[in-house]
């Protein structure tokens, strides 16, 4: 019986064992980290046939520049590589990449067949020793090699950061040259990184504030070619034709923007010295007046869902920002700080409004939430204005003009954290940028 008892007791003991031996893990909270560009490596892509040689190197370069240009990544130079990647299908020697602290590794291969370029790539999370997502392959024309590189970079960026990308996009802007009192302006379009720039109009008449349509196929802009500021639509997708929108005699219209449906245009119209906001249906030509006040209302911008607009008005005595239903109605003021606010632009993510602020003789590009809270200024200079959002709502491009008789205008971009402020290359001076959506 005692043996039986002992067995029973031991069995109970064993039952209790996991409970008592269950060790509580050590618990700590990490609430501070670092913010630094993530080191990554992009070895030259493998050229699968001789014709692909140049493309393989160039595509890898564009990918590296896209990622480094965000300020979130830092490229490790190929001179630092311990092992080389010459075969896209071969296994990765993670230890070699860990040794140089490459946290992300991008490999790829390119081949050319006839007029078609095929690009494939893989991304590796080096310190986890595994591929990040699956490989992908793109096919396109030889001329579109930069776009394919941008698409690869967008995929890599998304996988690592979780944000949408923005590299396969274009910017339409005003290209300008000449002294301030005789400035020649013309419309131009380019890749977001400054490549493939081309002019869209001549410089005989002043052109201002071009704006992309939601699908990136048309551009609205203001031109003085008729002698008065008037709104035109330019087809950048194919025909390159432009036509003027209907306008009443004796009025001036400017500051146009497309609604997300691509069919309605919101703009400012000046009549009898008074400027208000109107919408125009492109197909039917019908107009609706949204504001009717003796104050200046201008620079309207739609929310991404098209239900509201944000605009600037000086009805309170100084220029401030207001939101309003897109069909008109009660305007709600959202800016309350010191100084004047203008050129509001709704972020494509719907969460923020970017704006230009003037205070104490300085200009700033800033962002705020839609109720006006959490206002943050990202830049400060003699003259910054006219922000436009990247498709992922994380980067802003704007115009910066320098002081003095020799002042010139250029395009700059900045992350919404305020970091990574840098110029955007344009053929000559540049202003009034508008960022297209991601291209299909």
């Amino acid at each position: 019986m005692m043996r039986y008892l002992a067995t029973v007791l031991v069995c109970f003991g064993m039952l209790l064992l996991p409970v008592t031996v269950n060790s509580e893990p050590l618990r700590i909270t990490i609430d501070e980290g670092i913010i630094e560009p993530m080191p990554f490596a992009v070895p030259d892509f493998e050229a699968e046939n001789a014709a692909a040689d140049a493309y393989a190197t160039n595509i890898a370069r564009v990918i590296a520049e896209d990622l480094s240009g965000t300020g979130l990544f830092r490229e490790l130079p190929s001179s630092a590589f311990i092992s080389q990647v010459t075969d896209f299908g071969a296994a990765i020697q993670y230890a070699d990449w860990k040794a140089i602290n490459a946290q992300a590794l991008i490999t790829g291969a390119v081949n050319v067949s006839g007029d078609t370029l095929n690009v494939k790539f893989r991304v590796y999370d080096v310190f986890s020793g595994a591929e990040l997502g699956n490989g992908l392959q793109f096919a396109g024309t030889l001329n579109g090699w930069r776009r394919m590189a941008h698409k690869v970079a967008d995929a890599v960026y998304s996988r690592i950061t979780g944000e949408g990308g923005y590299f396969d996009s274009r910017v339409v802007f005003v290209s300008e040259t000449g002294p301030k009192n005789d400035r020649k302006k013309r419309l131009a379009i380019m890749d977001y990184d400054g490549a493939n720039a081309q002019f869209l109009t001549g410089s005989e008449a002043i052109v201002l504030a071009p704006r992309f349509s939601p699908t990136g196929d048309r551009v609205l802009y203001t031109s003085y070619e008729s002698g008065f500021p008037r709104i035109y639509v330019l087809d950048v997708g194919g025909t390159q034709n432009s036509r003027a929108l209907e306008q009443q005699e004796g009025t001036m219209s400017f500051a146009p923007r497309f609604a997300p449906d691509g069919q309605t245009v919101v703009y400012s119209l000046t009549q009898g010295g008074n400027t208000d906001i109107y919408t125009l249906n492109i197909a039917s030509g019908g107009t609706t007046r949204l504001t009717n006040t003796p104050s200046i209302e201008t620079a309207p911008s739609y929310s991404p869902d098209g239900s509201q607009i944000v605009f600037e008005s000086d009805r309170s005595g100084t220029q401030q920002l207001y939101t309003m239903p897109a069909s008109g109605g009660e305007a709600r003021r959202i800016s309350f700080g010191q100084g004047r606010y203008g050129t509001p632009v709704w972020s494509p993510r719907g969460d923020l409004v970017a704006f230009t602020k003037q205070n104490k003789g300085r200009f700033h590009i800033g962002v705020m939430r839609l109720d006006g809270s959490e206002e943050r200024l990202l830049t400060a200079s003699f003259l910054d204005e006219g922000p436009t959002w990247a498709p992922n709502g994380r980067v802003i491009m704007f115009t910066r003009e320098t002081q003095g008789a020799g002042g010139v205008a250029s395009l700059y971009s900045v992350d919404i954290s305020g970091r990574n402020l840098k110029p955007v290359r344009t053929p000559e001076g540049g202003s009034d940028p508008s960022w297209s959506p991601l291209q299909n």
């Binding site: 002294p179 301030k180 009192n181 400035r183 005989e204 008449a205 002043i206 201002l208 504030a209 003085y224 070619e225 008729s226 002698g227 008065f228 500021p229 004796g250 001036m252 400017f254 500051a255 400012s268 000046t270 009898g272 010295g273 008074n274 400027t275 200046i296 201008t298 620079a299 600037e312 000086d314 220029q319 203008g342 050129t343 230009t356 003037q358 003699f382 003259l383 204005e385 006219g386 003009e401 002081q403 003095g404 008789a405 002042g407 009034d432």
Partner: protein, 168 residues
């Protein structure tokens, strides 16, 4: 006035009309439209545009952010109104401008207010409204390029630009 003088003036007016450059709106030359003013159009001729520009005064300046006519320019505008009433074969385009201290669209609207203020004053002084057009350039066409108040003052202006009614 002698017949020869009237005839000369008439011929000069016709000649000047032909010289109006329609592209001037595009180039925004704010200080005068006529390309080649003949001798008869010199500043000593009270019916010439040169006289208008130099003796009557073709422009009005504004304070920062303001569009009301300051008292010192009332007499200029009175002079313009008189001249226009006298020389009824001219029409005028009032160009509004702003200095660079502001955003683009707002300055367009502000300079439109300025031009309109001048227009309304001239109308109140008897000039017919359908002879007066308004266009605004915002900060696109400064005449002074420095970034100081001395230049800004001159850029904040409304300029009355004449053109012949025959071509207008």
């Amino acid at each position: 006035m002698r017949l020869i003088t009237k005839a000369t003036i008439l011929v000069a007016a016709l000649a000047l009309a032909a010289c109006t450059d329609p592209g001037r709106f595009g180039n925004g030359d704010g200080s005068g439209a006529n390309g080649g003013a003949g001798a008869a159009g010199s500043a000593s001729d009270p019916t010439s545009t040169a006289y208008f520009q130099q003796s009557v005064g073709d422009r009005v300046l504004f304070a920062v952010d303001q569009f009301n006519i300051s008292p010192e320019y009332i007499s200029v505008l009175d002079g313009q109104a008189t001249w226009l009433t006298t020389n009824s074969d001219y029409i005028a385009t009032i160009e509004g401008h702003a200095d660079e201290q502001g955003t683009s669209a707002y300055n367009l609207a502000l300079s439109a207010r300025r031009a309109n203020a001048v227009r309304e004053y001239l109308i109140s002084r008897g000039v017919s409204g359908n002879r007066l057009q308004v266009v605004s350039y915002g900060k696109e066409r400064p005449i002074e390029v420095c970034s100081d108040e001395a230049c800004y003052t001159k850029n904040r202006r409304a300029v009355t630009v004449l053109s012949s009614a025959l071509t207008g």
